[in-house]
């Protein structure tokens, strides 16, 4: 399903080497397993050890860790029956985890890459060289469309099979870019500001001069959404079936395309913003404004969930990586910053460029494409560590308007001033696709099936928050409020409850560490204060002693001691 995009022999050799290494690793792990898992040992001991069959293959602990769902239920549940049941459930979860780790063996494909000699830079490898070295079918993925209707914007469908082009001068075209089969091509006779695929490749949305239009895959106009006017940018959130758009006047509109209802419509008070990106991790929308502030938005809340002052100058582009870990921003100040968008911290990296980027885009394998007027530079590993040179560079004779990576392919599609260019970026796409999630080789029936399933699994718009796991958490403050209400009922024993959340909100950053230290200091201080108080209060208990008269004590006048 994936075509090798680089020097094949080298790669195969590499893979073999890796495998041999892994084998060595596995041996080490088995020893670890023996040490750690006594229960497994027991089970094995119970049965007669079969010399021919050594049992199941050990699992790579790293992979196991990757599939971990976090800490399980501890010994907090005292009820013996339920504790037992929970224990059994935990066992099932671990089984699921192990199974998932074992199932990784089915991910046969490995991502490619460019490997060069030490004295050669990867940037020296041009598309021409790549096309010469890859097989024919892969070489067809490098192509160029010269179109006449001004700057083009391009977007791939979610399974990476279809491409949508929309030009400033009204040219709208959709086609299967692999087979180059055209679905439709029309001119809407209006300016198109942005385009977007819907949940399937049969429907597209185009933000035209006045309103938002929807077309099917034959170019027939399906809808004209007049509620959404003068749209500048839009993003489609596939799991929520939401089309999020921002217009010229700074109005955010969230259209639920499954029911055709606007679920959120408000002014963001940012003015005209044409920098927009979605965070695939939590489905929030990032907007960048002219003051260098990136704000995160959700449909139900009319204020930004968070704001980050990224640059001191107007922003030019934002990109969020697939896992929602990093956000790349660039400003007019010719700088590019990488932020930790999950923890809302940063900047992690700060780069200075020679010119201000036009667009930024993360690939599925976290390769950052930076568009600099008519040059595209691709950076590998630029988030967690500082790179000093690009991985790939592609120079064109026309300026870039936008670009998108093609999902599940090592392809970057660039919309330019005079058409569309497709280039190969080895190792940028996810090599293994989940056919139930998004299938590039989907047939009609599968598409219909997937559409129904997706509709059934639709996530309500209210669940868009900074932390997508918010929904799995107990509404603790309200719980506390309940407790307060209960406490207010006099003489009723309040139910004991441990409020500590499962996940602490902060990672172990430098700051968190400092806080812990502070906390410790505070604790110490309190202890000291206690001691001091004790020392001061020493005489008090002595006075408290009184001679007892037994039953007649009640007649002894008690003198209240003032504290």
């Amino acid at each position: 399903m994936k075509n090798p995009k680089k020097n094949a022999p080298k790669r195969y050799f590499d893979v073999e080497e890796k495998n041999s290494e892994q084998k060595q690793d596995v041996e080490v792990y088995t020893i670890k397993n023996n040490n750690n898992k006594r229960t497994d040992n027991k089970r094995i001991q119970k049965r007669k050890p079969n010399k021919n069959f050594k049992g199941k293959a050990p699992i790579d602990p790293e992979k196991l860790e990757a599939h971990s769902r976090g800490e399980g239920v501890g010994k907090g549940v005292k009820h013996p029956l339920h504790a037992e049941k929970l224990k059994k459930k935990e066992r099932k979860y671990t089984y699921a985890q192990e199974q998932a780790a074992r199932a990784e063996i089915l991910l046969t494909e490995d991502h490619g890459g460019l490997e060069v000699d030490e004295d050669v830079k990867t940037t020296a490898i041009s598309q021409k060289i790549i096309a010469e070295n890859v097989d024919i079918s892969a070489a067809t993925k490098i192509f160029e469309l010269n179109l006449d209707f001004g700057p083009y914007r391009a977007k791939y469908s979610r399974n990476g099979r279809h491409l949508l082009l929309g030009s400033k001068k009204g040219h709208l075209a959709a086609f299967d870019w692999v087979t180059k089969k055209l679905h439709f091509e029309i001119n809407v006779m209006e300016s198109i500001h942005d385009i977007s695929w819907m949940h399937t490749e049969t429907m597209v949305a185009a933000a035209q001069k006045e309103w938002l239009y929807m077309y099917d895959n034959t170019g027939t106009e399906l809808h004209c959404v007049k509620k959404m006017d003068k749209i500048l940018r839009m993003e489609f959130l596939p799991y929520h079936f939401l089309l999020a758009a921002v217009n010229e006047f700074g109005f955010m509109t969230w259209l639920d395309i499954s029911i055709g209802e606007v679920v959120g419509h408000y002014n963001n008070h940012l003015g005209r913003t044409s920098v927009m990106a979605q965070n695939p991790y939590n489905a929030t929308i990032c907007l960048g404004n002219s003051k260098g502030v990136v704000s995160l938005w959700s449909p139900t809340i009319k204020e930004p969930l968070a704001k980050i002052l990224c640059h001191k100058t107007p922003l030019t582009a934002i990109a969020v990586d697939n896992r929602g870990m990093y956000m790349a921003t660039s400003g007019v100040d010719r700088s590019m910053k990488i932020w930790d968008i999950r923890n809302l911290d940063g900047p992690v990296q700060h780069y200075r460029l020679r010119s201000a980027p036009v667009d930024l885009e993360f690939s599925q394998k976290d390769m950052l494409a930076v568009g600099l007027d008519e040059v595209v530079e691709i950076y590998n590993n630029c988030c967690s560590q500082t790179t000093d040179r690009p991985y790939l560079r592609h120079r064109m004779a026309k300026t870039i308007t936008n670009f998108k990576y093609c999902p599940y392919e090592d392809v970057l599609g660039i919309g330019t001033r005079s058409g569309f260019t497709s280039i190969i970026v080895p190792g940028s796409g996810e090599p293994n696709f989940d056919a139930l999630e998004s299938n590039p080789f989907q047939n009609k029936k599968q598409r219909k099936e997937a559409e129904v399933k997706a509709l059934l699994d639709k996530i309500p718009a209210e669940l868009i928050t900074l932390n997508p796991f918010d929904i799995t958490e107990v509404d603790v403050p309200s719980l506390q409020e309940q407790m307060e209400a209960k406490k207010k009922l006099l003489y009723l024993k309040p139910k004991k409850m441990d409020f500590t959340p499962r996940h602490k909100k902060k990672g172990k950053t430098q700051i968190a560490r400092k806080k812990i230290i502070k906390q410790a200091a505070r604790q110490e201080f309190i202890e000291q204060a206690k001691e001091a108080q004790k020392a001061l209060d020493l005489p008090q208990p002595e006075t408290a002693k009184k001679p007892s008269f037994g039953v007649l004590d009640r007649f002894v006048p008690t003198i209240k001691n003032k504290k």
């Binding site: 976090g70 800490e71 501890g74 013996p80 029956l81 504790a83 037992e84 929970l86 059994k88 459930k89 699921a96 199974q99 998932a100 930004p304 969930l305 968070a306 704001k307 001191k312 100058t313 007019v332 100040d333 700088s335 990296q349 700060h350 780069y351 200075r352 600099l372 008519e374 040059v375 000093d388 690009p390 139930l436 699994d457 209210e462 799995t472 107990v474 509404d475 309200s478 719980l479 506390q480 407790m483 307060e484 207010k488 409850m497 441990d498 409020f499 500590t500 959340p501 499962r502 909100k505 902060k506 700051i511 906390q519 505070r522 201080f525 309190i526 204060a529 108080q533 006048p557 008690t558």
Partner: protein, 701 residues
């Protein structure tokens, strides 16, 4: 045997004859009661009881004279000393109790065998029904075929010669039609008749119950009573034992009467009468009547033993109730009236009237009645009742006791009234005020109570603030050492502030990347060079310090907005002078200004130029769990229990199937039989060792 019985019968009849004869004599005979309470006092109310026990000494004393008799007396004494008195058999309830206890132990043991089976089936992941599954192992064909045998030639011939008698099914099927047609018709007619009658009666009863006339009801009641009495008398003749049982119904009537206010002087009617009673003798009598009714109904069932031996019955004194309704002697003395008193108010009244009538009428009539009464008494004597045996108190004593009871009760009531303030002194402010010590105690008590709610208010504010990890940690501490922390808070806060490093952020040094210079820029550069325009840093052009400052200001505002504020509950001018420039007293300030809880650290604290809104989305809250469900006691545990997804798009299919497997699996179309005892022997049940679960499930039983 028969002879003995005959003689018994003769004796019985003889006794009866004698009693009948003695009844002819109308004089009153007070016979000595056979059972007495041992008392020293010899009064008119209690007669001394002689013990039935034989005093051996007295007997032996007689025999002392001769040598031979000495031997006998010695022997006698020896037997007396050596003989062990059999221990009294346990009281019935006690014996029953023991029986129950042992029975319980036994049953517990028996039922307890099932504990591991039950516990295992509860804890196990899933149970499949039917439990006993037929093994799906297929028999080898050869084994299966061996079961079939062809008949040999000899067998065939033998069969021909002597064919086996056809075994007829001897199932006695119940005839589908147990009745003939005529019977059926009759039966149905009978049923229909019954139903019709029932409905008529129901209709009549309904009609009657709706009649509001008091007179009608009174007449109805009387009629009913008459009917009942008639029946009772018949019953006495026919089945005295049954009649006695009916008599026992009195106990129930007594209990009912005791808990109602029916025959008391508290009703509306009685109160009206009371007003007139002073002037009207008849009204007084009516009242007394009413009260006596109540009293007679609430009286305990008396021992009738004495009446048994009385044998003869004197004519009841002709007393009207006006004479002395309260006099228990009068009520109790006569055997007849005694029975009546024990029976029912209605009966009593009726009998009394009857007696009065009888007095006027012939003696012979009354005699008959008497005989019947006598019958009852015989029946009673012949029917041994433990209750009667237990009663050792003589009637005399009892009756004596009943009279002062009311007085005593009154006294007690008076006493209790007098005592009341003493008993509730803790609560009565007035009485307590007199003493010096008490009020202080009370005040202190009150003070303490007041202090507590205050603390509660503080806590409330503390906890209402938003949830953060740090906050949680703080909370617990705050609760435990709330006072101390309050004292120590300000310095701590200061120290915390001082700890914050102004340059706490790791400034990321910008990395200069050697990016491609775009053609356009190059052109500009070339232009620049050509025109010698001074190179301007674009950053500087666009950079506004204002941006940063305004953002920080925004953050500051945001922080301040969320800050909890003190709650001021002071009412200016309340209990003090108000107006401009008047400061509230320090005491009031302390008391009425509720201090806001300490500020919880925000998520964006120390994060630089990042604002994270901290507010709860009510729309999201709708979807969230509000309360931790039962087996969980902490939020953490509950959250951990729902952390993992179950769907097959998230985890492998096998694990998914395992996770969603129902706890009970039943096979369609299969009858689920209850477990039998073989289940106890199944090794997996026998090996179940989770004691805590077994204990829990055992306790539930």
């Amino acid at each position: 045997m028969e002879d003995i019985e005959d003689t018994d019968l003769v004796a019985l009849e003889h006794d009866r004859l004698i009693s009948a004869v003695s009844k002819l004599d109308k004089t009153q005979h007070i016979t000595e009661p056979t059972r007495n309470e041992p008392t020293n006092l010899n009064s008119e109310f209690n007669l001394i009881k002689r013990t039935n026990k034989l005093n051996i000494d007295n007997v032996a004393k007689v025999l002392e004279d001769t040598a031979h008799h000495v031997q006998i007396s010695k022997k006698l004494k020896k037997t007396q000393s050596g003989a062990k008195v059999l221990s009294k058999p346990l009281e019935k309830p006690q014996a029953e109790r023991i029986k129950r206890a042992t029975g319980y132990e036994e049953t517990k043991k028996k039922v307890g065998r099932w504990d591991p089976v039950v516990a295992r089936s509860r804890t196990v992941d899933y149970v499949t029904f039917p439990i006993k599954h037929v093994s799906a192992k297929l028999e080898p064909t050869s084994d299966f075929l061996t079961k079939f045998k062809l008949k040999s030639e000899l067998e065939k011939e033998l069969e021909e010669v002597d064919p086996q008698p056809m075994v007829e099914d001897e199932e006695e099927e119940e005839p589908i039609f147990p009745k003939s047609y005529e019977e059926m018709v009759e039966y149905r007619q009978h049923l229909a008749k019954m139903r019709a009658q029932q409905s008529y009666k129901a209709a009549k009863a309904k009609r009657q119950s709706k009649i509001k006339s008091k007179k009608f009801h009174r007449v109805l009641k009387k009629e009913k009573l008459k009917q009942e009495l008639k029946e009772f008398e018949e019953l006495q003749k026919r089945d005295p034992e049954e009649a006695l049982k009916k008599l026992e119904g009195i106990e129930k009537a007594r209990a009912l009467e005791r808990h109602t206010l029916r025959h008391k002087s508290t009703g509306k009617w009685a109160k009206n009468k009371l007003i007139r009673a002073k002037y009207d003798k008849e009204v007084r009598q009516q009242l007394a009547d009413q009260l006596s009714v109540g009293r007679s109904l609430t009286k305990k069932v008396q021992d009738n033993q004495s009446s048994d031996d009385e044998g003869d019955d004197e004519p009841t004194p002709n007393f009207t109730l006006s004479q002395d309704p309260f006099n228990p002697w009068m009520v109790q003395r006569s055997d007849k009236s005694n029975v009546n008193a024990e029976f029912d108010f209605g009966y009593k009244k009726f009998v009394q009237n009857k007696i009065n009538k009888h007095k006027e009428s012939d003696d012979s009539d009354s005699d008959e009645n008497d005989v019947s009464d006598k019958d009852i008494s015989y029946a009673k004597s012949s029917h041994p009742e433990p209750k009667e045996e237990k009663l050792t108190v003589t009637k005399a004593i009892k009756e004596k006791l009943t009279a002062p009871k009311s007085k005593k009760g009154k006294k007690a009531a008076a006493k209790s009234k007098a005592k009341k303030p003493l008993a509730t002194s803790n609560w009565d402010v007035e009485t307590v005020d007199d003493t010096d010590n008490k009020p202080k105690d009370n005040l202190e008590y009150l003070k303490l109570k007041k202090q507590k709610p205050k603390a509660v208010i503080d806590e409330e504010l503390l906890e209402s603030s938003s949830k953060t990890a740090e906050g949680m940690a703080n909370e617990e501490k705050d609760e435990t050492i709330s006072e101390l922390v309050k004292a120590a808070q300000t310095p701590v806060q200061e120290s915390a502030d001082s700890n914050i490093d102004p340059n706490r952020f790791i400034e990321v040094k910008p990395k200069y990347l050697n990016t491609a210079i775009s053609q356009v820029e190059n052109e500009y550069d070339q232009l620049d060079d050509d025109q010698v325009v001074p190179r301007v840093n674009i950053e500087e052009v666009f950079e506004e310090d204002d941006v940063v400052a305004s953002f920080r200001q925004e953050k500051e505002d945001e922080i301040n907005k969320d800050k909890p504020e003190d709650i001021n509950l002071t009412l200016p001018g309340w209990g003090a002078w108000g107006g401009k420039g008047v400061k509230p007293q320090k005491r009031k300030r302390n008391r009425f200004i509720l201090k806001a809880p300490p500020k919880m650290p925000r998520r964006d604290e120390n994060k630089g130029d990042i604002i994270i809104k901290e507010f709860k989305d009510p729309k999201l809250a709708v979807h969230k769990v509000k309360d931790v469900p039962f087996p969980f006691e902490s939020v953490k545990d509950y959250e951990a229990s729902i952390r993992a997804p179950l769907g097959n798009t998230f985890i492998p299919e096998k694990a998914h199937k395992k996770l969603i497997r129902p706890s009970i699996i039943t096979k369609a179309g299969k009858i689920i039989e209850p477990m039998d005892e073989e289940e106890l022997l199944v090794p997996k049940n026998r090996n179940f060792k989770n004691q805590s679960v077994m204990k829990l499930l055992g306790r539930k039983k």
